[in-house]
Structure formats: C-alpha cells, structure tokens
C-alpha cells in the first residue's frame, strides 16, 4: 500500500499544471522533470505547513489576545500524548517520500550511460578549459543537442565546482582526483556556466557559457553564427583559429587579433598584465617582455640568463618551469592545451604590445 501511495505521490502527471510552478530557470536537460518535480512536491508541502503554522499563530494571537493582566485562565491540557505522537509520525511519511524522490533522481545523475560523448574539463584559477576528443580545446563548453555528454573534470590548483543551472547539474572539481558529471541537453542555445566553489580573487569571473549546438546547421536560427553551426561544423571551426571569422582582418587571418582574444580566454590575463606593472603574486608583465623580444636582450633567470626570443616564449608556455625568472613563482603548463597557431598568435600579440 505504501508503494502505491508513493507512486501516486511521485507521479507528476497527476499534478495540475498550475501547481508545477517553480523558481528555476527553464530546464534544458533530461534531469529537469526529476529535479523540478521533487522541488514542486516539497514546495507544496512547505506551503501547507507554513500556512498551517503561521495561520494558527495569527489566529491565536487575535482570539486569545490578553485583555487584562489577570485574565481568567481557560482550561487546557499541558500535554496530549496521542496528539503529540500523531504530529511526530505523520510528517515522517512525507519525509520518506521526499527522500525517495531525491534518491531516485540522484542515482540517475551520478550514473553516466555507456554511450557518452566525452569532454575533459580542466579548472584552474581562474579559467575553464574544455578538451574535446579530437584535441581541440576551448574556454566555453560546447555540446551537441540530444546527446549524452560526460565531463571528466580535474583541477590544477584548488577546489572549483562546475554548475550549469539550466542543466540542473553541479559537481566539485577536486585537485588530485577526477570527478564526473553527465547530462543530455534538450534544446540548442546558450546558457550560463558558473564556478560555485570559492577559489579566490577572480572566483566570480569564472563565468562562461555552455553552448548547445543543433543537429542540423540552422542558417536562420540565430544572430550569432556560432550558435547556428551543428556540432561537427563547430568543432572544425574551433580546432583551427586561422579559419575563425572573428580573427580576420580584410579577409586574412590576423594573429594579433587572435592573440588578444586568447590572452583573455586562455587565462593569461589572470597573472600577466599588459603594462609594466606586475599583478600581485602574478607572473612577469608583458610590456617589458615585448620590449625585450624586440631588442633581443638577456632575461635574468634564477640560474643564469636567456636571450628573449620566440623559442623562449614558446618554452615558457609549454614548460614554464624549465627557465624560471628571478623573483617569480610557478606557472601551470599549457602542454596539450594550446595548438601551434595559437602559440604563434600569443607571440604575435606580445610582440605587438611595445609600439
């Protein structure tokens, strides 16, 4: 009988439409019904008890208000064991239903299906990197619609947490281990992606987008051409910055333009300034570096010195701790996260700083 009651109460098709109101942003994943359904169920239980408690409270305040300091005392019990057992036991049944609904949906959330499209996530202070199976990496998350997507996440430094409100998913990104997250998007479009585990100064700047691509290219769908591409089309576009229309000047690839964009999206800007002022606890500022590259002067290292040239910058990106400058700490390596044309673009951008 309890099982029947449970199924009955857990069946959202029996719930009238007006009762399915909640404060969440519109769901865009297969988890929506489980999360929103449980939320609505709890919300109506809460509204019932809140109205009961506060209604009685206000009613008693008015009806039994004190008239004189020596009001004649009305008789009333000091306890009533059956009543007290009743209001201890009956709400417990509601709690069992809440637990059961939460449990069922959670197991689904934590069990990725076998046929997932795999994306690697690397979180660091303060940027996201998403790596696709073909080696392309981006700072926004792009996924195909109607496909099971699994994120395998790791952190380079401290705790982070990946949260996409419309997908109803969240998972901490923990240094020293992998954590997983999966979802299946229902509609093309873009939504917010937040970091929700405090990670320092730019924690609230770790906001990026989760873009869901349609199954067919849709030339009339959206003002933003990127959103109209289907996923394979986008992947080709993303894997080669030299074909990216945003980085064209007069129809030709402009590495300085691309470098300026990569400076922000690859997270360089968190530690390297474009002036001669060092960011607190950050790495070498880029204006003096630009000057050094132009003049080919020697750069002081912790052990010796090195001539400032393209190879020095390239090595500093891929193996940053091979040559460590005096007075500076460690930098995470970008090995496998940046392709050659991207490194070329960064070098071109640095060189363009010293006018």
């Amino acid at each position: 009988m309890t099982t029947t009651l449970l199924t009955l109460l857990a069946n959202d098709e029996l719930v009238p439409k007006w009762a399915n109101w909640n404060m969440f942003p519109e769901s865009n994943s297969t988890f929506g019904p489980a999360v929103d359904g449980a939320f609505n169920f709890i919300m109506w239980v809460c509204i019932f008890f809140f109205v009961l408690v506060c209604g009685l409270m206000v009613y008693f305040m008015v009806v039994y208000r004190r008239r004189t300091p020596n009001d004649k005392m009305m008789s009333s019990p000091t306890h009533n064991t059956p009543l007290e057992i009743f209001w201890t036991v009956v709400p417990s049944f509601l709690l069992v239903i809440m637990f059961a609904r939460g449990f069922a949906g959670f197991v689904d959330m934590r069990t990725p299906p076998a046929d997932c499209y795999d994306i690697k996530v690397i979180a660091k202070k303060w940027s996201w990197t998403f790596q696709y199976p073909d080696g392309t990496s981006t700072n926004e998350l792009h996924v195909p619609v109607d496909t099971n997507v699994r994120l395998t996440m790791r952190s380079d430094d401290v705790l982070h947490s990946l949260y996409i409100p419309t997908m109803r998913v969240k998972m901490d990104v923990v240094p020293g281990r992998y954590t997983y997250l999966w979802f299946k998007a229902l509609k093309p479009g873009q939504q917010h992606l937040f970091c929700t585990e405090y990670c320092g100064r730019e924690h609230s700047m770790m906001i990026t987008k989760c873009v869901v691509h349609p199954t067919q290219p849709d030339p009339n769908g959206n003002e933003d051409a990127l959103l109209n591409m289907d996923f394979p089309q986008w992947l080709v576009y993303a894997s080669d910055i030299t074909r990216n229309k945003n980085f064209m000047t007069d129809g030709k690839f402009d590495p300085v333009k691309a470098g300026a964009e990569l400076y922000k999206t690859k997270g360089c800007s968190a530690c390297h300034s474009l002036t001669d002022q060092r960011i607190a606890n950050g790495g070498p500022p880029w204006l003096p570096l630009s000057h050094a590259l132009k003049t080919g002067e020697e750069i002081q290292l912790q052990d010796g010195s090195v001539k400032a040239d393209d190879n020095y910058v390239r090595e500093s990106i891929l193996a940053p701790n091979a040559k460590r400058r005096t007075g500076y700490g460690n930098m995470p390596s970008y090995q496998g996260q940046m392709k050659d044309p991207e490194i070329d673009a960064i070098i071109a951008f640095i060189k363009s700083l010293d006018k």
Binding site: F39, V53, C54, R65, S75, E84, F99, M171
Partner: protein, 565 residues
C-alpha cells in the same frame, strides 16, 4: 507526570523577602571587581557586551557586502576586499557571536538562578572561558590587521593552505575560541547535574536549561574535533605536512569531513539555546503551561545526538561517494522531526492562552515565522536531487540566515528584552521595543527572501561579480539589509535608553514562574535571599498581577484553582 507538579509539597509558597543587601551590580565596584569577578551574572554581562560588539563588527561587514552587491562588477570595494569581508563576516558571526551568544551571555546569567543555586559549578573556569573568548577575538582582529583572511569561514583546503593571508592567526583564534566553548559547556553539564536546588528534579528544570544542557553536550563532544582539524591545518601550512593538499599526497575532501563533523553539530550549538528561549517566552507571554514539556526536553537532547550523524549533507556535490550521500540524506530527514515537534508544541502552548504582545513575545512570534521558513527550506537541501542545483547558491545563504539569524539572533533579542529587567533592574520603553521587532522582522524578510529566488535562479554564493539578470533581486536584498540595520539600531537604542531613563523593574514584570523571577531585580550576589525550592516552572496560573508594583506576585490560593489538565 507533569500534571501534578504544581500541587506537590515542594511548591514554593513564601513571598520574596524585601531586599536587604546590595544587588550584584552594587555589591562592589571598580575595574578589578569586574575583571576578576567569579559571579556568573557579571561574567554573563561581560559576555553580553563582548558578543554584541562582535555582532556590530560582523554587521558592518554585512552592510559593506550588501552595498557592494548593489551592482554587478565593482561598486565600492575590490574583489580582494570583498572576499575578506565575507570571510570575516562569516567567521566573526559564527565563532565570536552566535556560538557564544546565548550560552555565554544569557545562559551564564540565567541558568544558575533558574536552578536555584548561587553560581555555576566552576566559577574560575567560567571566568577563564570569557578570557579565552577575548583571546580568540584578539587573534581574529590580529588576522584582520595583518594581511586579512580570504578563505571563507569554512577554511576549505587547499585554498586555505596556499593563500597568502593570515590563515594561521585566524585558525589559532578559532582554536582558542573552541576551548572557551568547551569550558562553558563543561561548566553547565556539571552545574545541571550537581547544583540543583532542593525539589528541582530533572523534570522541573526549565526548558531553557534543558536546551543549554543539550548544547553543552555538543560543545564538549564536538569542539575537540574542530581543534584537531584546525591544528592539522596549521601544521600543513607551517610544516608542510601532506594531510589535505593533494600536491603533498593529502586529500582535500578529508578536510571537509573533519570540518563538518564539528560544524554541523555546531549548527545545533547555535539553534538549541534559541529554541530554549522560545519555550520560555511563548509560555510566559501566553500565560499558559508549556505544552508537551517532555517532548520538548527530549527533542532537544534528540537533536543534539542526531546532529552528529548528518555532516555529510554539506558534501553532496563534493566528490564523496554517492552511497554516502544517500545515507547522509536519509539521516538528515531524521533531524527534521524534533524541530517540527517543537514548533507544534509552541503553537499548542498558545492555544487558549492569554497572549501578550510585549516586545519579547513579538520577537518570539517573529522567530516562529522565520524559523518555520528556515526549517522547511532545509527539506529542499536534504533532498539529494534538489540539493545538486541549489548547493553553494544563494538558496543556501538564505536558508541558513533564516535559521541562524531569523532563529538564533531573533531569539537572542527576545531573550535580552525578556531578562533585561532582571539583569539591569530597569524597564525599557515597550512601544519602541515593539517597533524595533516589527522593523527587524520586515527588514529581515526583505533581505533574505529574495535570496531564495536568487539561488533557485542559479546565483552562486561568494560572488563579487554576477550576471546582470540578478541585479533587481540583489537591490531588494540590499535595501532590506539597511532596514534590518535600522531595526537593530533602534533595539540597541531602546536598551541603552532604559539604562539611563528606565523605570525601576519589579521582581516579576511578566508573571513568569521560573525561579529567576522569584528573586529581586537585579538579584543579590548569591541570587536569593531565601532558600529557593524547585517547583513546576510553568505554573503561570499561580501568578497574580498587582497594579501597585506593576508586576506579578505568587498567590498560593491560585494554585488550588489549577486549570484542568
């Protein structure tokens, strides 16, 4: 059973003899008479001043935070300052204010008198507990002045082991404050067990004392774990022990287990004393015997014990195994029951009462409203699938402010107004007291209700910057914070005004039946100038109003007219 307590031979029938010796405030004077006092009442007053100063500091941080959040991006301070402000707001409010507030200030003052004894069991230890609090506060201020603190009050690793701010000073401060808390708890446990007046059997102890007793059990059992955890954190930072940092072979999630193993029970250190105050207030101002005394008393102890088993519900998205999350979710629902039982019992106490809307009752009713919301919204967070999107968003921020501030702070204010005449011997302005409670209530809801919506819409907590679609709700919340600040300022002004201009308080202005009202206001040094005996603390029908003293007196004749049970 509780029914016939009022007619048992232990009933106190003698009138309070007139005051012949100076009260505790006037028995001695000068700085050292306070600094080295062993009187639980003076220690309580010093705690009261201390925790109110800490609250003011934490409150200023809160107003700075809310002002910064008026607009996305920079408003008045930088991101680094914002991170320091929310860290210090949380750390000061939790460690320096909420945890010591009710046990340290009101518990110290009231518990021994309620038990009919002249002091706590270990007066020196009681004074030491206060000075440990001062020591902890000094370390916190030192951390603030020497590099600040930007880890969040939770000190999560590996951020806390790698940031350049004064983590060691602050954690050492929290470590010292832990001992202050243990000393207070130990004192209350021994006092309740060994120092009760003749006739004060376990089921004649006022429910406030039951709540403080349950709290003390948690303080003594859980706080050492916090001490160990913070020492390990200090050792990791100072010596490079690899306990939590994966770079040295540690596990950051282990820190979260340690931290919440203390900090979840600590939530009950914060809320149980508040529930105790509410039991006293609702009964007194409804002039009704508390309903279901034993259910309330046992639910306090039940909460204290169950509170140890649910820490993992802070970690559903942390990377702990799903099986553990499931177990912790199931256990979490079990703590909902004792809290609900208390709310129903308080309501039943009001039924057929004679309800006065004096200031303390206004705060108690505000507590009922706000704590009901705070408790019910916990159900969303205990439900696994719903917690996933809500975790670490403003929904959580709103939930725990409804419980900690709407619960503990509001009850603390109600308790201060209730016991103020006893503590100071002065009556405050009733009208302005009521005004303060209404403004605090409205300001509170305006501040924190929009945060439930913000969190559900996806606004993460601890964000300096946010996406523009959240701005209007943030503005509402900030305006609410200013209103709340105004209400609290009025409450403080009412109390200070009473010290200068207040009428002399009668022994029992509210008609309460607990023992602290059966002595003079303020009490003498050793609390009673007669031998008190334990009796039913909720026999309110035996109290009779006497207009000539504007207060209540015990009338033994009325005991025979006990209302039917």
């Amino acid at each position: 059973m509780a029914t016939d307590i009022s007619t048992t031979p232990g009933s106190h029938t003698q009138p309070v003899p007139p005051q012949t010796e100076p009260d505790y405030l006037h028995v001695s004077s000068g700085f050292s008479s306070w600094a080295f006092t062993l009187d639980h009442k003076r220690i309580g007053i010093m705690y009261l001043i201390g925790v109110m100063a800490a609250f003011a500091l934490g409150g200023v941080f809160a107003l700075i935070l809310r002002t910064e959040l008026l607009t996305p991006g920079p408003t008045i301070i930088s991101a680094d300052w914002y991170n320091q402000m929310f860290t210090l707001h949380g750390a000061v409010m939790v460690f320096l204010f909420i945890i010591p507030s009710i046990p340290g200030a009101l518990g110290n003052f009231v518990v021994p008198i309620m038990l009919g004894t002249k002091d706590v069991a270990f007066p020196q230890m009681n004074l030491a507990s206060f000075y440990l609090w001062v020591g902890g506060a000094i370390f916190f201020v030192a951390a603030l002045l020497t590099g600040g603190l930007d880890t969040g009050w939770t000190f999560y690793t590996p951020y806390s082991t790698t940031t350049s701010t004064s983590v060691i000073a602050a954690t050492f401060g929290a470590f010292i404050l832990g001992f202050s808390s243990i000393f207070t708890g130990l004192n209350f446990i021994v006092t309740v067990h060994t120092m009760r007046a003749p006739g004060m059997s376990w089921f004649r102890i006022p429910l406030f004392v039951w709540a403080i007793y349950a709290t003390a059990i948690i303080q003594v059992l859980a706080t050492p774990v916090l001490g160990i955890t913070l020492l390990m954190l200090i050792a990791e930072r100072a010596l490079g022990l690899g306990i939590f940092d994966p770079k040295m072979g540690g596990d950051p999630v282990l820190f979260q287990h340690f931290f919440w193993f203390y900090s979840h029970p600590a939530v009950y250190i914060m809320i149980l004393p508040a529930m105790g105050i509410i039991s006293e207030l609702i009964s007194t101002y409804s002039r009704r015997h508390i309903f279901g005394y034993r259910f309330i008393a046992f639910s306090s102890v039940g909460l204290a014990l169950l509170g140890f088993l649910v820490w993992g519900h802070h970690m559903f998205t942390s990377g702990q195994s799903p099986a553990m999350s499931v177990i912790f979710s199931a256990l979490t629902f079990s703590v909902a029951i004792p809290s609900a039982v208390k709310v129903f019992n308080w309501l039943a106490t009001m039924y057929r009462g004679s309800i006065s809307l004096a200031t303390p009752m206004c705060y108690a009713l505000a507590f009922l409203f706000l704590f009901t919301i705070g408790g019910l919204t916990g159900l969303f967070l205990g439900t696994l699938v719903v917690d996933v999107p809500l975790h670490d968003t403003y929904f959580v921020v709103a939930h725990f402010h409804y419980v900690m501030m709407g619960g503990t702070l509001i009850a603390f204010l109600g308790g201060i107004f209730h016991w103020w005449p006893k503590m100071t011997g002065k009556m405050y302005n009733e009208f302005w007291g009521q005004v303060s409670s209404v403004i605090v209530f409205l300001g509170f809801n305006l501040t924190f209700f929009p945060q439930f919506i913000l969190g559900t819409r996806g606004m993460p907590r601890r964000y300096y910057n946010y996406v523009p679609e959240f701005q209007s709700l943030h503005v509402m919340s900030t305006v609410g914070a200013y209103v709340l600040g105004l209400g609290l300022t009025i409450a403080l002004a009412v109390l200070i005004h009473s010290l200068m201009r207040g009428k002399k308080a009668p022994n029992n202005p509210w008609g309460a039946a607990t023992l602290e009202w059966q002595t003079t206001s303020p009490p003498p040094l050793y609390n009673f100038n007669y031998e008190p005996v334990g009796r039913d603390p909720y026999a309110l029908h035996e109290m009779e109003y006497d207009a000539s003293i504007d207060g209540y007196k015990h009338n033994p004749e009325l005991a025979k007219l006990a209302p039917a049970h």
